[in-house]
């Protein structure tokens, strides 16, 4: 019968695109904001 595809950790009813927070083919949850590299203004790189 295959797999219940709603159990793979993807929010298939999301109104937004899934790819922009797609974490990995092996991950069963989307990326969190702190996982996503972002082009912040260079001044923010204070470390």
């Amino acid at each position: 019968p295959g797999i219940d595809l709603t159990t793979l950790g993807l929010n298939l009813n999301s109104p937004e695109n899934l790819y922009s927070t797609f974490q990995s083919p092996w991950a069963d949850a989307p990326c969190r904001p702190q996982d996503i590299d972002f082009h912040v203004p260079a001044e923010y790189l204070t470390n």
């Binding site: 969190r32 904001p33 702190q34 996982d35 001044e43 923010y44 470390n47």
Partner: protein
Amino acid sequence: PLGPVPLGKDNVYQLTMIEAAFHHLPHPSDSERLRHYLPRNPCPTPSYYQQVPPPHADSVDFFQKLSTETLFFIFYYMEGTKAQYLAAKALKKQSWRFHTKYMMWFQRHEEPKSITEDYEQGTYIYFDYEKWGQRKKEGFTFEYRYLE
């Protein structure tokens, strides 16, 4: 009605290599910049803990509900990520301003004493990430040209 197809030599080789690779799977953080200050250290939490972020956790509205301290933690410890970007936006909505010359966040503490085209002088609160707290800065001159 399709019977099984015997695996060819190539397929057996592929299977062997896939099985070996299965023991060195890439980790999602392998596709992210190094996080010196907050590397991913997955820690198994009890299943009754929230396992995935609440919905809309990646929106400014969500970040706006966070405490100022939390926003500064995210800003300074998750640099270069979308979380830092959202925390910056939320801080601005809490009327903080990032001063690029001093690389610090300021908030006006009271009506400034003098305002000109280029700057305003007064008492400000700033976030001191050395001592991790908000501190007052008397008689500070806030130059608009450095406002990020």
